[in-house]
Protein backbone atom coordinates (compact mmCIF):
# COMPACT_ATOMS: atom_id res chain seq x y z
CA UNK A 1 0.00 0.00 0.00
CA UNK A 2 1.11 3.54 -0.78
CA UNK A 3 0.28 5.69 2.19
CA UNK A 4 0.64 9.41 2.80
CA UNK A 5 -0.17 10.55 6.32
CA UNK A 6 -0.81 14.02 7.55
CA UNK A 7 0.97 15.75 4.67
CA UNK A 8 1.52 19.49 4.98
CA UNK A 9 3.10 21.70 2.32
CA UNK A 10 3.78 25.43 2.38
CA UNK A 11 5.17 27.68 -0.36
CA UNK A 12 6.49 31.08 0.69
CA UNK A 13 4.45 30.91 3.87
CA UNK A 14 1.27 29.98 2.03
CA UNK A 15 -0.28 26.71 3.25
CA UNK A 16 -1.11 24.63 0.18
CA UNK A 17 -1.73 21.34 1.96
CA UNK A 18 -2.90 21.10 5.57
CA UNK A 19 -2.64 17.61 7.00
CA UNK A 20 -3.83 15.45 4.12
CA UNK A 21 -4.05 11.68 4.54
CA UNK A 22 -4.32 9.57 1.47
CA UNK A 23 -3.72 5.96 0.47
CA UNK A 24 -3.85 3.58 -2.49
CA UNK A 25 -3.87 -0.22 -2.27
CA UNK A 26 -2.52 -2.39 -5.03
CA UNK A 27 -5.37 -3.60 -7.18
CA UNK A 28 -7.46 -0.48 -6.61
CA UNK A 29 -7.81 2.90 -8.20
CA UNK A 30 -8.66 6.20 -6.54
CA UNK A 31 -9.89 9.39 -8.12
CA UNK A 32 -8.94 12.77 -6.66
CA UNK A 33 -11.11 15.75 -7.56
CA UNK A 34 -11.40 19.33 -6.42
CA UNK A 35 -11.11 22.84 -7.84
CA UNK A 36 -7.78 24.20 -9.05
CA UNK A 37 -5.61 25.35 -6.21
CA UNK A 38 -7.10 22.80 -3.83
CA UNK A 39 -3.73 21.04 -3.60
CA UNK A 40 -4.28 17.88 -5.65
CA UNK A 41 -1.15 18.19 -7.76
CA UNK A 42 0.86 19.26 -4.76
CA UNK A 43 -0.26 16.13 -2.93
CA UNK A 44 1.03 13.92 -5.75
CA UNK A 45 4.24 15.86 -5.90
CA UNK A 46 4.74 15.45 -2.16
CA UNK A 47 4.26 11.70 -2.50
CA UNK A 48 6.82 11.70 -5.29
CA UNK A 49 9.20 13.88 -3.25
CA UNK A 50 9.50 16.78 -5.68
CA UNK A 51 8.26 19.27 -3.09
CA UNK A 52 9.24 19.69 0.54
CA UNK A 53 6.57 18.49 2.94
CA UNK A 54 5.86 17.63 6.54
CA UNK A 55 4.28 14.28 7.33
CA UNK A 56 4.99 10.67 6.45
CA UNK A 57 4.93 8.78 3.18
CA UNK A 58 5.34 5.01 3.15
CA UNK A 59 5.30 2.40 0.45
CA UNK A 60 4.46 -1.23 1.27
CA UNK A 61 5.11 -0.47 4.93
CA UNK A 62 8.50 1.13 4.30
CA UNK A 63 8.83 4.77 5.32
CA UNK A 64 10.59 6.76 2.60
CA UNK A 65 11.28 10.11 4.27
CA UNK A 66 14.01 12.25 2.76
CA UNK A 67 14.28 10.06 -0.31
CA UNK A 68 14.83 11.96 -3.56
CA UNK A 69 12.35 11.30 -6.38
CA UNK A 70 14.66 9.06 -8.39
CA UNK A 71 14.86 6.58 -5.52
CA UNK A 72 11.09 6.64 -5.06
CA UNK A 73 10.85 5.85 -8.77
CA UNK A 74 13.05 2.84 -8.22
CA UNK A 75 10.69 1.67 -5.48
CA UNK A 76 7.93 1.60 -8.06
CA UNK A 77 6.17 4.95 -7.63
CA UNK A 78 5.68 6.77 -10.90
CA UNK A 79 4.15 10.18 -11.47
CA UNK A 80 2.86 11.33 -14.84
CA UNK A 81 3.03 15.06 -14.22
CA UNK A 82 0.45 17.65 -15.18
CA UNK A 83 0.60 20.28 -17.93
CA UNK A 84 1.62 17.70 -20.51
CA UNK A 85 5.22 17.76 -19.36
CA UNK A 86 7.48 16.36 -22.07
CA UNK A 87 11.14 16.90 -22.91
CA UNK A 88 10.39 19.29 -25.76
CA UNK A 89 13.61 19.09 -27.76
CA UNK A 90 13.77 15.30 -27.71
CA UNK A 91 11.87 13.11 -30.12
CA UNK A 92 8.73 11.21 -29.17
CA UNK A 93 10.69 8.00 -29.28
CA UNK A 94 13.40 9.32 -26.96
CA UNK A 95 10.76 10.65 -24.60
CA UNK A 96 9.26 7.22 -24.23
CA UNK A 97 12.41 5.12 -24.29
CA UNK A 98 13.62 6.66 -21.06
CA UNK A 99 11.31 4.23 -19.30
CA UNK A 100 10.75 1.27 -21.60
CA UNK A 101 10.48 -0.19 -25.09
CA UNK A 102 8.93 2.06 -27.69
CA UNK A 103 7.01 -0.74 -29.40
CA UNK A 104 5.08 -1.46 -26.22
CA UNK A 105 3.82 2.11 -26.35
CA UNK A 106 2.82 1.69 -29.99
CA UNK A 107 0.77 -1.32 -28.93
CA UNK A 108 -1.38 0.96 -26.74
CA UNK A 109 -1.46 3.97 -29.07
CA UNK A 110 -0.83 2.96 -32.71
CA UNK A 111 -0.50 6.57 -33.90
CA UNK A 112 2.75 6.92 -31.98
CA UNK A 113 4.42 4.94 -34.77
CA UNK A 114 4.26 7.76 -37.30
CA UNK A 115 5.01 10.43 -34.67
CA UNK A 116 8.15 8.73 -33.42
CA UNK A 117 10.78 11.05 -34.93
CA UNK A 118 8.92 14.26 -34.31
CA UNK A 119 10.14 16.58 -31.54
CA UNK A 120 7.80 16.39 -28.58
CA UNK A 121 7.64 20.20 -28.39
CA UNK A 122 5.60 20.49 -31.59
CA UNK A 123 2.96 17.90 -30.65
CA UNK A 124 -0.62 18.91 -29.99
CA UNK A 125 -1.98 18.67 -26.48
CA UNK A 126 -3.63 15.31 -27.05
CA UNK A 127 -0.51 13.81 -28.61
CA UNK A 128 1.59 15.04 -25.73
CA UNK A 129 -0.78 13.39 -23.29
CA UNK A 130 -0.32 9.97 -24.84
CA UNK A 131 3.44 10.41 -24.68
CA UNK A 132 3.23 11.35 -21.00
CA UNK A 133 0.88 8.47 -20.29
CA UNK A 134 2.79 5.76 -22.13
CA UNK A 135 6.07 6.90 -20.59
CA UNK A 136 4.56 6.49 -17.13
CA UNK A 137 2.94 3.13 -17.84
CA UNK A 138 5.92 1.53 -19.57
CA UNK A 139 8.12 1.66 -16.49
CA UNK A 140 5.75 -0.94 -15.04
CA UNK A 141 4.98 0.90 -11.80
CA UNK A 142 3.56 -0.61 -8.63
CA UNK A 143 1.92 2.72 -7.86
CA UNK A 144 0.95 5.03 -10.66
CA UNK A 145 0.01 8.66 -10.07
CA UNK A 146 -1.71 10.29 -13.06
CA UNK A 147 -2.19 14.04 -12.95
CA UNK A 148 -4.89 15.22 -15.40
CA UNK A 149 -4.24 12.47 -17.95
CA UNK A 150 -7.40 13.07 -20.01
CA UNK A 151 -6.94 16.76 -20.78
CA UNK A 152 -7.33 17.62 -24.47
CA UNK A 153 -7.64 13.96 -25.44
CA UNK A 154 -9.80 12.51 -28.21
CA UNK A 155 -12.59 10.11 -27.21
CA UNK A 156 -10.83 7.18 -28.81
CA UNK A 157 -7.66 7.74 -26.82
CA UNK A 158 -9.58 8.27 -23.60
CA UNK A 159 -11.03 4.79 -24.08
CA UNK A 160 -7.61 3.30 -24.79
CA UNK A 161 -6.22 4.99 -21.70
CA UNK A 162 -9.05 3.82 -19.49
CA UNK A 163 -8.77 0.23 -20.63
CA UNK A 164 -4.99 0.35 -20.11
CA UNK A 165 -5.58 1.69 -16.60
CA UNK A 166 -8.02 -1.13 -15.90
CA UNK A 167 -5.48 -3.68 -17.09
CA UNK A 168 -2.70 -2.17 -14.94
CA UNK A 169 -5.00 -2.02 -11.95
CA UNK A 170 -4.82 -5.78 -11.52
CA UNK A 171 -1.27 -5.55 -10.22
CA UNK A 172 -0.78 -1.90 -9.36
CA UNK A 173 -2.35 0.83 -7.29
CA UNK A 174 -3.47 3.80 -9.36
CA UNK A 175 -4.36 7.35 -8.34
CA UNK A 176 -5.87 9.78 -10.84
CA UNK A 177 -6.46 13.50 -10.70
CA UNK A 178 -9.06 14.55 -13.22
CA UNK A 179 -11.39 17.37 -14.15
CA UNK A 180 -12.48 15.88 -17.42
CA UNK A 181 -14.47 12.73 -18.02
CA UNK A 182 -15.30 12.22 -14.38
CA UNK A 183 -18.32 10.07 -15.32
CA UNK A 184 -16.10 7.64 -17.24
CA UNK A 185 -13.28 7.55 -14.75
CA UNK A 186 -15.54 6.94 -11.78
CA UNK A 187 -16.54 3.63 -13.42
CA UNK A 188 -13.11 2.12 -12.90
CA UNK A 189 -12.30 3.69 -9.54
CA UNK A 190 -12.96 2.36 -6.06
CA UNK A 191 -12.56 5.44 -3.91
CA UNK A 192 -13.07 9.13 -4.48
CA UNK A 193 -11.29 11.91 -2.64
CA UNK A 194 -12.76 15.38 -2.75
CA UNK A 195 -10.24 18.10 -1.90
CA UNK A 196 -10.82 21.75 -1.10
CA UNK A 197 -8.32 24.44 -0.11
CA UNK A 198 -5.59 22.07 0.99
CA UNK A 199 -7.74 19.52 2.85
CA UNK A 200 -9.53 16.30 2.02
CA UNK A 201 -13.18 17.24 2.59
CA UNK A 202 -14.80 13.93 1.71
CA UNK A 203 -13.76 10.37 1.05
CA UNK A 204 -16.45 8.55 -0.89
CA UNK A 205 -16.41 4.78 -1.37
CA UNK A 206 -17.71 4.28 -4.89
CA UNK A 207 -20.52 1.75 -5.01
CA UNK A 208 -21.91 2.83 -8.32
CA UNK A 209 -20.98 5.62 -10.65
CA UNK A 210 -24.35 7.35 -10.30
CA UNK A 211 -24.24 7.35 -6.52
CA UNK A 212 -20.73 8.80 -6.49
CA UNK A 213 -21.51 11.52 -9.01
CA UNK A 214 -24.61 12.47 -7.09
CA UNK A 215 -22.66 12.87 -3.87
CA UNK A 216 -19.96 14.81 -5.61
CA UNK A 217 -22.39 17.26 -7.19
CA UNK A 218 -23.20 18.55 -3.75
CA UNK A 219 -19.72 20.04 -3.60
CA UNK A 220 -18.78 21.08 -7.07
CA UNK A 221 -20.13 22.06 -10.43
CA UNK A 222 -19.14 19.37 -12.88
Amino acid sequence: MLMAENIGVAFNGLQVLRGVTFSVERGTAVLVVGPNGSGKSTLFRAVMGTVKYRGKVSVDGKVIEGMPPHRRFRLGIVLAPEKMRVAENLTVRENIEISGRFRDAVRIFPELEHLKNRKAGVLSGGERQIVVFSRAVLSDPSYLLLDEPFQALSDENVERMISEIERRKRRAGIAIISHDRIEDVVEICDTLYFMLSGRVRRVIEIESAEQAIKKLEKYMIL
Binding site: V9, F11, N12, V16, G37, G39, S41, T42, R45, V51
Partner: protein, 298 residues
Protein backbone atom coordinates in the same frame (compact mmCIF):
# COMPACT_ATOMS: atom_id res chain seq x y z
CA UNK B 1 7.16 63.60 2.15
CA UNK B 2 8.46 64.18 5.68
CA UNK B 3 10.61 61.11 5.37
CA UNK B 4 12.17 62.27 2.13
CA UNK B 5 13.09 65.60 3.71
CA UNK B 6 14.58 63.86 6.75
CA UNK B 7 16.60 61.47 4.61
CA UNK B 8 17.90 64.29 2.44
CA UNK B 9 18.84 66.24 5.55
CA UNK B 10 20.86 63.27 6.82
CA UNK B 11 22.73 63.05 3.53
CA UNK B 12 23.42 66.77 3.39
CA UNK B 13 24.71 66.88 6.93
CA UNK B 14 27.00 63.95 6.16
CA UNK B 15 28.27 65.96 3.21
CA UNK B 16 28.94 68.97 5.41
CA UNK B 17 30.63 67.03 8.22
CA UNK B 18 32.88 65.14 5.83
CA UNK B 19 34.02 68.31 4.11
CA UNK B 20 35.98 69.27 7.25
CA UNK B 21 39.07 67.19 6.58
CA UNK B 22 40.71 66.68 3.15
CA UNK B 23 40.88 62.90 3.56
CA UNK B 24 37.24 62.61 4.54
CA UNK B 25 36.25 64.97 1.76
CA UNK B 26 38.04 62.70 -0.70
CA UNK B 27 36.35 59.70 0.89
CA UNK B 28 32.94 61.36 0.74
CA UNK B 29 33.28 61.87 -2.99
CA UNK B 30 34.24 58.23 -3.45
CA UNK B 31 31.35 57.04 -1.31
CA UNK B 32 28.96 59.24 -3.25
CA UNK B 33 30.17 57.85 -6.55
CA UNK B 34 29.33 54.36 -5.40
CA UNK B 35 26.02 55.49 -3.92
CA UNK B 36 25.10 57.03 -7.26
CA UNK B 37 25.99 53.75 -8.89
CA UNK B 38 23.65 51.97 -6.49
CA UNK B 39 20.86 54.48 -7.14
CA UNK B 40 21.37 54.02 -10.84
CA UNK B 41 21.04 50.27 -10.41
CA UNK B 42 17.87 50.72 -8.36
CA UNK B 43 16.23 52.70 -11.17
CA UNK B 44 16.60 49.69 -13.39
CA UNK B 45 15.67 47.25 -10.65
CA UNK B 46 12.45 49.15 -10.12
CA UNK B 47 11.38 48.17 -13.62
CA UNK B 48 12.33 44.58 -12.88
CA UNK B 49 15.75 44.37 -14.50
CA UNK B 50 18.71 43.18 -12.48
CA UNK B 51 21.80 44.51 -14.18
CA UNK B 52 25.05 42.73 -13.44
CA UNK B 53 26.97 44.84 -15.91
CA UNK B 54 26.43 48.27 -14.48
CA UNK B 55 30.14 49.06 -14.77
CA UNK B 56 29.53 49.44 -18.49
CA UNK B 57 26.82 52.06 -18.11
CA UNK B 58 28.94 53.80 -15.49
CA UNK B 59 32.34 53.53 -17.12
CA UNK B 60 31.88 53.50 -20.88
CA UNK B 61 31.16 57.21 -21.57
CA UNK B 62 33.85 58.45 -19.23
CA UNK B 63 36.34 55.89 -20.59
CA UNK B 64 35.71 57.17 -24.12
CA UNK B 65 35.88 60.75 -22.90
CA UNK B 66 39.26 60.17 -21.27
CA UNK B 67 40.56 58.54 -24.47
CA UNK B 68 39.33 61.60 -26.37
CA UNK B 69 40.94 63.93 -23.84
CA UNK B 70 44.33 62.80 -25.14
CA UNK B 71 43.43 64.78 -28.27
CA UNK B 72 41.34 67.72 -27.11
CA UNK B 73 38.54 68.73 -24.77
CA UNK B 74 36.11 68.99 -27.68
CA UNK B 75 36.74 65.42 -28.80
CA UNK B 76 36.42 64.37 -25.18
CA UNK B 77 32.96 65.95 -24.81
CA UNK B 78 31.76 64.60 -28.13
CA UNK B 79 32.92 61.11 -27.28
CA UNK B 80 31.29 61.36 -23.86
CA UNK B 81 27.93 62.17 -25.41
CA UNK B 82 28.36 59.42 -27.97
CA UNK B 83 29.26 57.03 -25.14
CA UNK B 84 26.11 57.93 -23.21
CA UNK B 85 23.93 57.41 -26.26
CA UNK B 86 25.61 54.16 -27.17
CA UNK B 87 25.46 52.68 -23.68
CA UNK B 88 21.78 53.63 -23.44
CA UNK B 89 21.00 52.03 -26.79
CA UNK B 90 22.90 48.86 -25.91
CA UNK B 91 21.11 48.43 -22.58
CA UNK B 92 17.77 49.16 -24.19
CA UNK B 93 18.39 46.60 -26.91
CA UNK B 94 19.38 44.07 -24.24
CA UNK B 95 16.16 44.75 -22.35
CA UNK B 96 14.06 44.36 -25.50
CA UNK B 97 15.86 41.21 -26.60
CA UNK B 98 15.77 39.31 -23.36
CA UNK B 99 13.60 38.30 -20.44
CA UNK B 100 14.62 38.94 -16.87
CA UNK B 101 16.93 35.98 -16.40
CA UNK B 102 18.70 36.37 -19.72
CA UNK B 103 19.16 40.08 -19.03
CA UNK B 104 21.25 39.27 -15.96
CA UNK B 105 23.49 36.98 -17.98
CA UNK B 106 23.79 39.25 -20.96
CA UNK B 107 24.75 42.34 -18.97
CA UNK B 108 27.21 40.38 -16.83
CA UNK B 109 28.91 38.69 -19.76
CA UNK B 110 28.94 41.90 -21.75
CA UNK B 111 30.60 43.89 -19.00
CA UNK B 112 33.25 41.21 -18.49
CA UNK B 113 33.80 41.25 -22.24
CA UNK B 114 34.33 45.01 -22.20
CA UNK B 115 36.63 44.69 -19.20
CA UNK B 116 38.76 42.08 -20.91
CA UNK B 117 38.91 43.84 -24.25
CA UNK B 118 39.26 47.50 -23.17
CA UNK B 119 43.04 47.22 -22.48
CA UNK B 120 43.42 46.49 -26.22
CA UNK B 121 42.67 50.16 -26.89
CA UNK B 122 46.15 51.61 -27.37
CA UNK B 123 47.25 54.44 -29.63
CA UNK B 124 50.31 56.56 -30.20
CA UNK B 125 50.30 60.15 -29.08
CA UNK B 126 53.36 62.37 -29.43
CA UNK B 127 55.72 59.42 -29.64
CA UNK B 128 54.27 57.72 -26.54
CA UNK B 129 51.81 54.87 -26.37
CA UNK B 130 48.75 55.65 -24.28
CA UNK B 131 45.89 53.46 -23.16
CA UNK B 132 46.24 49.73 -22.55
CA UNK B 133 46.30 48.50 -18.97
CA UNK B 134 47.30 51.95 -17.77
CA UNK B 135 44.44 53.92 -19.27
CA UNK B 136 44.08 57.61 -19.95
CA UNK B 137 44.29 60.80 -17.95
CA UNK B 138 41.32 63.01 -17.20
CA UNK B 139 41.06 66.66 -16.09
CA UNK B 140 40.53 67.47 -12.43
CA UNK B 141 38.97 70.30 -10.45
CA UNK B 142 39.65 71.52 -6.93
CA UNK B 143 38.58 69.25 -4.09
CA UNK B 144 36.18 71.88 -2.75
CA UNK B 145 34.36 72.26 -6.04
CA UNK B 146 34.28 68.52 -6.45
CA UNK B 147 32.84 68.07 -2.97
CA UNK B 148 30.00 70.49 -3.65
CA UNK B 149 29.33 69.06 -7.09
CA UNK B 150 29.18 65.54 -5.69
CA UNK B 151 26.95 66.37 -2.74
CA UNK B 152 24.60 68.21 -5.06
CA UNK B 153 24.46 65.43 -7.63
CA UNK B 154 23.80 62.75 -5.03
CA UNK B 155 21.00 64.77 -3.42
CA UNK B 156 19.50 65.58 -6.79
CA UNK B 157 19.32 61.99 -8.00
CA UNK B 158 18.14 60.74 -4.64
CA UNK B 159 15.26 63.22 -4.76
CA UNK B 160 14.47 62.26 -8.34
CA UNK B 161 14.39 58.61 -7.30
CA UNK B 162 12.04 59.26 -4.40
CA UNK B 163 9.75 61.67 -6.22
CA UNK B 164 9.41 59.40 -9.23
CA UNK B 165 8.45 56.62 -6.83
CA UNK B 166 5.23 58.48 -5.97
CA UNK B 167 4.40 59.44 -9.54
CA UNK B 168 2.57 57.75 -12.35
CA UNK B 169 5.83 56.76 -14.03
CA UNK B 170 7.00 55.24 -10.75
CA UNK B 171 3.85 53.13 -10.41
CA UNK B 172 4.21 52.00 -14.00
CA UNK B 173 7.82 51.06 -13.40
CA UNK B 174 6.82 49.06 -10.34
CA UNK B 175 4.06 47.35 -12.30
CA UNK B 176 6.48 46.42 -15.07
CA UNK B 177 8.91 45.23 -12.41
CA UNK B 178 6.26 42.98 -10.90
CA UNK B 179 4.88 41.47 -14.08
CA UNK B 180 5.62 42.56 -17.63
CA UNK B 181 2.76 40.67 -19.25
CA UNK B 182 0.18 41.95 -16.81
CA UNK B 183 1.47 45.49 -17.34
CA UNK B 184 0.91 45.17 -21.07
CA UNK B 185 -2.59 43.95 -20.37
CA UNK B 186 -3.51 47.06 -18.38
CA UNK B 187 -2.25 49.29 -21.15
CA UNK B 188 1.24 50.24 -20.02
CA UNK B 189 3.55 50.94 -22.94
CA UNK B 190 6.32 48.57 -22.01
CA UNK B 191 8.89 50.04 -24.37
CA UNK B 192 8.46 53.55 -22.99
CA UNK B 193 8.76 52.41 -19.38
CA UNK B 194 11.82 50.30 -20.10
CA UNK B 195 13.43 53.18 -21.96
CA UNK B 196 12.57 55.58 -19.14
CA UNK B 197 14.05 53.40 -16.44
CA UNK B 198 17.22 52.82 -18.45
CA UNK B 199 17.50 56.52 -19.23
CA UNK B 200 17.15 57.52 -15.59
CA UNK B 201 19.55 54.79 -14.60
CA UNK B 202 21.95 55.92 -17.28
CA UNK B 203 21.81 59.59 -16.31
CA UNK B 204 22.68 58.69 -12.74
CA UNK B 205 25.50 56.36 -13.79
CA UNK B 206 26.95 58.81 -16.32
CA UNK B 207 27.12 61.59 -13.74
CA UNK B 208 28.80 59.20 -11.34
CA UNK B 209 31.28 58.37 -14.10
CA UNK B 210 32.26 62.01 -14.62
CA UNK B 211 32.74 62.53 -10.90
CA UNK B 212 34.88 59.39 -10.81
CA UNK B 213 37.07 60.81 -13.55
CA UNK B 214 37.36 64.19 -11.83
CA UNK B 215 38.21 62.57 -8.51
CA UNK B 216 41.02 60.37 -9.81
CA UNK B 217 42.16 62.43 -12.81
CA UNK B 218 42.67 59.14 -14.57
CA UNK B 219 40.57 56.31 -16.08
CA UNK B 220 41.88 52.77 -16.54
CA UNK B 221 40.13 49.62 -17.83
CA UNK B 222 39.64 48.68 -14.17
CA UNK B 223 36.56 50.92 -14.25
CA UNK B 224 34.85 47.97 -15.97
CA UNK B 225 35.89 45.41 -13.35
CA UNK B 226 33.51 42.78 -12.08
CA UNK B 227 33.71 44.26 -8.60
CA UNK B 228 32.24 47.54 -9.81
CA UNK B 229 29.58 45.64 -11.75
CA UNK B 230 28.42 43.72 -8.72
CA UNK B 231 28.80 46.57 -6.23
CA UNK B 232 25.28 48.01 -6.58
CA UNK B 233 23.83 44.51 -6.35
CA UNK B 234 25.68 43.90 -3.10
CA UNK B 235 24.88 47.34 -1.67
CA UNK B 236 21.16 47.05 -2.31
CA UNK B 237 21.23 43.48 -1.03
CA UNK B 238 22.49 44.81 2.28
CA UNK B 239 20.10 47.74 2.12
CA UNK B 240 17.26 45.26 1.57
CA UNK B 241 16.11 47.22 -1.46
CA UNK B 242 15.24 50.32 0.50
CA UNK B 243 16.81 53.28 -1.36
CA UNK B 244 17.97 55.18 1.71
CA UNK B 245 19.40 52.09 3.35
CA UNK B 246 21.10 51.19 0.08
CA UNK B 247 22.75 54.60 -0.16
CA UNK B 248 23.96 54.24 3.43
CA UNK B 249 25.19 50.71 2.83
CA UNK B 250 27.12 51.95 -0.21
CA UNK B 251 28.78 54.48 2.09
CA UNK B 252 29.51 51.75 4.59
CA UNK B 253 30.91 49.33 2.03
CA UNK B 254 33.32 51.92 0.62
CA UNK B 255 34.47 52.82 4.12
CA UNK B 256 34.90 49.16 5.00
CA UNK B 257 36.89 48.50 1.85
CA UNK B 258 39.27 51.35 2.73
CA UNK B 259 39.84 49.84 6.16
CA UNK B 260 40.15 46.23 5.02
CA UNK B 261 42.33 46.93 1.99
CA UNK B 262 44.73 48.95 4.10
CA UNK B 263 45.04 45.94 6.39
CA UNK B 264 45.61 43.57 3.50
CA UNK B 265 45.10 44.33 -0.21
CA UNK B 266 42.33 42.21 -1.71
CA UNK B 267 40.63 41.53 1.62
CA UNK B 268 37.50 43.46 0.60
CA UNK B 269 37.22 41.25 -2.48
CA UNK B 270 36.87 38.29 -0.14
CA UNK B 271 34.01 40.04 1.65
CA UNK B 272 32.28 40.71 -1.68
CA UNK B 273 32.77 37.10 -2.67
CA UNK B 274 31.31 35.88 0.61
CA UNK B 275 28.26 38.12 0.22
CA UNK B 276 27.69 36.90 -3.34
CA UNK B 277 28.02 33.27 -2.27
CA UNK B 278 25.55 33.74 0.55
CA UNK B 279 23.25 36.02 -1.46
CA UNK B 280 20.64 33.31 -2.18
CA UNK B 281 20.26 33.00 1.60
CA UNK B 282 20.32 36.65 2.62
CA UNK B 283 18.95 38.30 -0.49
CA UNK B 284 15.83 36.26 -1.08
CA UNK B 285 13.87 39.43 -1.78
CA UNK B 286 16.01 40.26 -4.82
CA UNK B 287 15.35 36.95 -6.44
CA UNK B 288 11.88 36.04 -5.24
CA UNK B 289 10.04 38.98 -6.71
CA UNK B 290 10.51 37.92 -10.28
CA UNK B 291 8.71 34.65 -9.74
CA UNK B 292 5.23 34.15 -11.05
CA UNK B 293 2.31 33.48 -8.77
CA UNK B 294 1.26 30.21 -10.38
CA UNK B 295 4.55 28.69 -9.30
CA UNK B 296 3.39 28.74 -5.73
CA UNK B 297 -0.28 28.10 -6.30
CA UNK B 298 0.49 24.48 -7.26
Amino acid sequence: MKRIVAETAVMLSLAVIMSLSPYYSWLFVLMSIYSLLTLSWLFMRKAGRISMGHSFLFGFPVFLASAGYSFSSEVSIQLFIAGCALSFVIFYIFAEMTGRTAFVFLTLVFSIFVWVSSPKLVFEKGGYLTGGEVGFSFPTISQKELHILTGGTLTLFYLIYRIIGESRAGYFMRAVGDDETASKAVGIDLRKIKALSILLSGMTAWSAGIIYGLEFGHISPEIFSVEISVFPFIASLIGAGNPFASVLSSFGLVYLSKILNSMYPGLMGIVYAAILILSPKIGWWVYVKGKRLDEKAG
